[in-house]
Subunit: 250 residues, 2 copies
Amino acid sequence: MLTPRQTYNLYFSRDKEFVRDVYEISGFVPKEVFLYRLALTHSSSINGLATEADRKKAAARGCNERLEFLGDSILDSIIAEFLFKIYPTKGEGFLTEMRSKIVNRKSLNKICRKLRVDTLIRHRQNGSINESMYGDALEALIGAIYMDLGYHFTKRFVYKRILEPHVHLHSVERQIISYKNKLIEYVQKTKMGQLVFEVIEEIGDGRAKIFRIAARVGDQTMGIGEGKNKKTAEQRASQDALTKLNLISS
Amino acid sequence: MLTPRQTYNLYFSRDKEFVRDVYEISGFVPKEVFLYRLALTHSSSINGLATEADRKKAAARGCNERLEFLGDSILDSIIAEFLFKIYPTKGEGFLTEMRSKIVNRKSLNKICRKLRVDTLIRHRQNGSINESMYGDALEALIGAIYMDLGYHFTKRFVYKRILEPHVHLHSVERQIISYKNKLIEYVQKTKMGQLVFEVIEEIGDGRAKIFRIAARVGDQTMGIGEGKNKKTAEQRASQDALTKLNLISS
């Protein structure tokens, strides 16, 4: 049942085109349309405006960063509950890792495009597009749905439109995080120096050969790993390093 | 209005003492008492048991880590919404920082004790107590309330029992995070080496003197800051380093 406000929004308001688009994506008719407009306004659409007066007007209307802050944590809770119920016997470490695989920026960007939310984002037309804009907009949309319709509807949106059609738990479970990439990223971000992988020992030979590899930055050994090939040993050395850095649970 | 189940729990069940304690703390009569028992069972109470059989039995009942995972994100969302509404004109960076000041482990530990939740925690009696056990138990309790009674009641609990009596926004706003401590912690955790603060320049003299201080690890300058005294300059150098490490927003 639509409220009179929703009926007005859908059939008579100036925004009815936009309202229908949101309805198609979310399955709900918005009550407070401005929240959705805000969620789908990227900050670049403000900076990209031609005149100072336009920019000021747009900035007063706001962009989606606040809604993204809200939507991000609402999404986290909803996924937490989902995993908590789906995996009744798994520990906290497993649940945390599964969640971070589901809600990482890359997968949210993809889901945003699958839901066709990307077509509604207002951003600066000319200029390079930052990929993470898509995931951010999806989170902001979740924030808008929450502010407009409450937790129950937001949960329904996340379950019906995101988790059921676009998240395949079996493949998420199997999806191995590349520890090596993660370590490389970390070392770059913290500007620790150059990361090198060094074979420190080759045990046995032929088919039974095992490589022992150290991940090093300067003189410092970050981690050590073994494997039947160099690739595996590097992954394990990276995993060891990340564990010692407290960046993943062992 | 109590449901028959709640009435039973409060007046007739074997657990009625415990149910009354939870009622005093939360303001609600539990429906599913086992969730609250679980939330208030620390893993040490399992490891501390005398016989292997006892430990196995206890482990099957579980400890509170899964509920803590859930409660942690529910609490984050509730605080996010609270701040979003209280500060309608503040940006995402401010909201994030305020939240992390409210829900940091230290303040949750304190609130846990103020609510007297600590008296209900089952943990290993002899043996050193890890302070963070208190904050963890509070988060697990929030997870239990959520699973038992839903989002609405959990929000009421957080607003009425945590935010209104124990969080004073004015002092949280004024509370300056010690950037220096944060940097020291980080450098220790990542085992980067020894952090030193070095005066690299003293500009002017007497009352107008300004110190220029670098935060260094080995040869690497992590950040630079200036101030009228060494303490301020060190704080600013640390802040600069943390910004460069992407650990705080500038």
